[in-house]
């Protein structure tokens, strides 16, 4: 059985697209040949910056011949029916077979679909794959209309077995498939022919191309570590960077250099960001000093001077970048020395945040007032929180952050320290953006928490006030992320803040923004936006949606910590057998009671008296309710919802026994009313933690 080798040779494919492209090529081709009736033993993919490769072993040489039998008209059917059948099958009358059928004699046709050679099938499938390849971005070039990620230069497509290789007959917009490829762009640019995957990979290696991206990554990582080890240094691991760099070279040559002494005092974040983002260098740490002192770069070729020119060039580029960074760093320090960090922040008055929400400076003054309000709620000093808010975004005016926007906050913290501000203030400057992503750490230092909350609440309130709410998939101002940030800040710090109870942070924020109509702050609009985010968040934590609905229906649902406490207790209780059965008992009690109340037009809510109890089960239920209530009341007081739920769950068997033995409706109206009032006690107790009517099942 032959092997198939496909190489699509193009100009440089972006590193980040290669892994996906390998998978897509494999899927398109293997699915295509299998659909056409071929089978194969094994498929493997490879890529370099210039080639996308698929090797399939043990492909069947032909698709099988298929026979299909079709039943036609009866022999005594009109001529027209037979003609139609012959046309449909493409056969002549003497090729048909006559068989006996239940109702007489019938024509049968046997249609044979001959198998097709794999070359033909591969040609079709490959052309389709090339023309429909799902590149994230593709382009045209020259005067042609073919699309590829970058100009496609050649196609190698061969089927090979012991007898030799056959070229797949294919021409895509003037690119004819062949059996040759080229080596490394600079070190071995000549074309050569290949006879199969084994000779392809071997010759490529001779032509300075390491085909397998995993091998390139391993080589780079191994060499980098060896070089660092020899100096007693350590390479800072970065898997994303490694796979990117492996996608940028065909023949990796790892080189290590030293960062000039004059830059070693720059913050490590600056060194790392500059080296990684701009140069794709790995950082190398000196464990003795704990500083980043070196770098590893990966070249795409060997040179007669063993990379000396390349390393010197890279070193020079790095020095230019770092002297830029140093220049910014020193200018920023000078600015702070003369004007303070607040002086730096003063420039934000000239920067518009949003044309309907004023300048960044105005926004900072709002955040300051808000942080001052929030501070006591989170245990922070109002003065420190206000101070931190005033300087939190000062670094947006720094030269360093202008150059490296990803260092916002990080630089602010350094500059706050340069300005000799309190450490808590400095940390808050860095941390007030957090959490950004769902896996981001949440600050816990109260000053940071106060400013982080104020920042997000101002954003949410502001865009709400100007009616820029998220719709569908559109959330240009990242308000969902801001809301999730507030939720996580509140929950992970166990904060007790009533988001919707005036004076609330939102009403305060609305007042600061000066919006005329701030009713959204205490209507349920913002709150239900938060509840939606909270539902998503809790669902991710494994809490059922009906549990969330049940607790959100309770009063105080703008206190997110309280909501989650209730939800967790309910969720745990429902996992126990007593808990699950309690729900059934509750629902039964509630249904009977509700129907009776509707019928009688009264609410049974008071006055169940044990003296009217007739059966032992009824008396036992009274006793159990008394006992449970005496536990639930203090538990509720202490917000120990788990204990409250446990006490409720203990009611399960007395309730079950009661329903087993007692008929609510009796001739005695007094006893009936007493029993309904008893059910009302069950309802009242069971509704104390969550609205159990919302629980499904």
């Amino acid at each position: 059985m032959p092997d198939l080798l496909i190489e699509l040779f193009s100009e440089e494919i972006p590193a980040r697209m290669q892994a996906r492209a390998r998978a897509d090529l494999q899927k398109l081709i293997t699915d295509g040949v299998v659909d056409a009736g071929l089978t194969y033993a094994h498929a493997g993919t490879f890529s370099t910056p210039r080639r996308l490769v698929l090797a399939i072993e043990g492909l069947t040489a032909n698709s099988p011949t298929l026979r299909e039998e079709r039943k036609g008209p009866r022999t005594d059917a009109p001529e027209k029916a037979l003609d139609g059948f012959l046309r449909a099958t493409g056969l002549s009358k003497d090729q048909l077979e006559i068989r006996d059928d239940k109702k007489g004699q019938v024509y049968f046709a046997t249609i044979e679909r001959p198998g097709r050679p794999a070359t033909e099938i591969v040609a079709e499938v490959l052309e389709h794959a090339i023309r429909n390849f799902p590149w994230p971005k593709s382009m045209r070039w020259g005067a042609g209309s073919l699309r590829w990620v970058r100009p496609l230069h050649s196609i190698l497509a061969i089927l090979s077995d012991e007898a030799g290789a056959t070229i797949v007959p294919l021409d895509v917009d003037g690119i004819t498939a062949g059996d040759s490829t080229r080596g490394h762009r600079f070190m071995a640019p000549d074309a050569f022919t290949v006879g199969g995957f084994e000779s392809y990979a071997r010759q490529l290696k001779l032509a300075k191309v390491m085909l397998d991206p995993a091998e390139r990554a391993d080589t780079i990582w191994h060499d980098a570590q060896q070089m660092a080890f020899a100096k007693g240094w350590e390479v800072v691991e970065d898997k994303g960077l490694l796979s990117e760099v492996a996608g940028l070279v065909e023949w990796p040559v790892t080189l290590m250099g030293q960062i000039d002494d004059e830059f070693l005092d720059l913050p490590p974040e600056v060194l790392q960001t500059s080296m990684k983002e701009h140069q794709k260098f790995f950082s190398v740490k000196n464990p003795k000093t704990g500083r980043i002192e070196g770098f590893v770069t990966v070249a795409n070729r060997e040179t007669a001077d063993h990379g000396a020119t390349i390393l010197a060039g890279n070193q020079k580029v790095l020095s230019a970048r770092l002297s830029d960074a140093k220049f910014f760093w020193e200018n920023d320090q000078r600015m702070i020395k003369t004007h303070g960090l607040e002086g730096m922040a003063a420039g934000l008055d000239a920067v518009t945040f949003h044309n309907k929400l004023g300048s960044q400076g105005a926004r900072i003054r709002r955040i300051e007032s808000l942080a001052r309000e929030i501070a006591p709620l989170v245990g922070a000093s109002p003065d420190l929180a206000a101070e931190a808010a005033r300087v939190a975004k000062a670094d947006l005016r720094s030269e360093m952050v202008y150059e490296f926007p990803e260092l916002q906050g990080v630089m602010g913290r350094y500059y706050a320290k340069s300005a000799s501000l309190d450490d808590r203030v400095a940390d808050a400057v860095r941390d007030h953006y957090a959490p950004l992503g769902p896996s981001d750490d949440v600050p816990s230092e109260p000053v940071s928490v106060a400013v982080a909350l104020a920042d997000k609440i101002d954003t949410l309130t502001g865009f709400w006030a100007i009616d820029e709410k998220p719709t569908g998939s559109k959330d240009p101002f990242a308000l969902r992320r801001a809301a999730l940030g507030v939720i996580r800040l509140v929950l992970e710090n166990g904060l007790r803040i009533k988001l919707n109870t005036r004076p609330s942070p939102f009403s305060k924020a609305a007042e600061l923004i000066g919006t005329r109509d701030d009713s959204f702050a205490d209507t349920n609009e913002i709150l239900s936006f938060f509840h939606d985010r909270l539902k998503v968040f809790l669902k991710d934590q494994g809490i059922r949606h009906d549990v969330i609905d049940a607790v959100l229906a309770m009063p105080g649902s703008d206190d997110l910590t309280l909501v989650v406490k209730r939800a967790e207790a309910l969720s745990e209780t429902l996992k126990t057998e007593d808990g699950a059965n309690l729900i059934q008992g509750f629902k039964r009690a509630n249904n009977i009671l509700t129907q009776a109340e509707e019928k009688d037009g009264v609410e049974y809510s008071f006055g169940a008296d044990v003296k009217f109890a007739e059966t032992p089960e009824e008396k036992a239920l009274f006793a159990a309710l008394d006992a449970a209530e005496s536990q639930i009341a203090p538990a509720m007081e202490a917000e120990d919802f788990a204990a409250a739920m446990a006490a409720m769950a203990s009611l399960r068997s007395p309730i079950d026994a009661f329903f087993e033995a007692v008929q609510i409706n009796t001739d005695s109206e007094v006893i009936r009313r007493n029993r309904l009032n008893l059910l009302s006690r069950i309802r009242q107790i069971c509704l104390s933690v969550a609205d159990l009517t919302k629980i499904e099942g």
């Binding site: 910056p49 971005k137 382009m139 020259g142 795409n300 040179t303 390349i310 518009t352």
Partner: protein
């Protein structure tokens, strides 16, 4: 890969590098044009690129374009940043299949030994929101330094580029500093260092960098700039709204004069930006206004003969 017709000796000055690029691309068949006589932010704005990338007429041009980026002014102090600098620009339509090789030949021509250096094509998709243009390509790295942008134009002014033009942009100062081994741009020899009057880049440009940095950042009158922006915008619209036919009955669509106004508006926007009076949200609105002009100019250009319209079509 080394280009046999290229001199491999090291160039001595900034201008020698420019001259070598000129003769190299001339030898490869490009029309060597002169800079466009207006303030632009990049060589792409030259109508020889922006407009000529449109339509189906073949085109091959190379030129130096003085470019201005007011926000990059550093009073001549920063070793690598200038508010006025030079770009070398090549545009060939349709893009030839060996454009990468041609480009590498140009590096060899200016003295970069391809056997000793590490040249890389690193993904960098180009987009100009002001021109309504985009393309795919790379930034080209030499030993980790970006020396050029290499782009296959896909769209300009909202029009698909058919055929596709290949665009090469060299940041001349940075490239020359690298080739000449200079650390501060102002120290770079502008002419031959052994010339009777040897001039450094700083001798030519330090004074102007200081003056323009001050004007760009502190002095330019924002009300005037804003008014000029609006004037340019209005004039562009007025030109394009004119009849295709003049009083003498000649059909002349004025795509280029209109495009001049678009260029002006774009530069005025950059100046306003440097003065720090444009907010983040306003930015988008301004960019959108310039893009509207660029698109209208592109629409006009493709109706001209140079823009690929058939003569009878253009006369109709």
């Amino acid at each position: 890969m080394a280009n046999s017709d290229a001199p491999q000796t090291a160039p001595k000055s900034f201008q020698e590098i420019i001259l070598r690029l000129m003769s190299y691309w001339a030898s490869k068949g490009c029309a060597v044009l002169q800079p466009y006589d207006m303030e632009v932010g990049a060589g792409t704005f030259h109508p020889a690129t922006t407009l000529r990338a449109l339509g189906d007429k073949p085109w091959a041009a190379a030129y130096v374009q003085p470019s201005r980026r007011p926000t990059d002014g550093r009073y001549g102090e920063n070793p690598n940043r200038l508010q006025h600098y030079y770009q070398y620009q090549v545009l060939i339509k349709p893009s030839p299949p060996d454009l990468q090789e041609l480009y590498l030949g140009s590096l060899a021509a200016i003295g970069i030994d391809l056997e000793l250096h590490d040249i890389r094509f690193v993904e960098d998709d180009w987009e100009s929101p002001t021109l309504g243009a985009w393309g795919l390509g790379w930034e080209v790295w030499c030993d980790g330094m970006e020396v050029s942008q290499f782009t296959y134009f896909q769209q300009v002014g909202g029009h698909d580029c058919k055929p596709v033009a290949g665009e090469l942009t060299y940041g001349l100062e940075r490239l020359a500093m690298y080739v000449l081994g200079i650390d501060h741009v102002m120290d770079m020899p502008y002419n031959d260092p052994s010339a009777p009057i040897a001039l450094k880049y700083g001798d030519v440009f330090r004074q102007t960098e200081q003056e323009y940095s001050r004007w760009n950042f502190d002095v330019a009158d924002t009300d005037t700039l804003l008014r000029h922006f609006e004037d340019a915008e209005a004039e562009c619209g007025r030109i394009l709204a004119s009849d295709d036919t003049d009083d003498a009955g000649r059909k002349i669509i004025m795509a280029h004069p209109a495009y001049d106004q678009c260029i002006k508006a774009s530069h005025l926007f950059n100046l306003l930006d440097a003065r720090g009076v444009i907010s983040v949200t306003e930015r988008q609105a301004y960019i959108g206004r310039v893009r509207t002009l660029a698109k209208a100019c592109a629409d006009a250009f493709v109706r001209t003969e140079a823009g690929g319209a058939q003569p009878d079509e253009a006369a109709a």
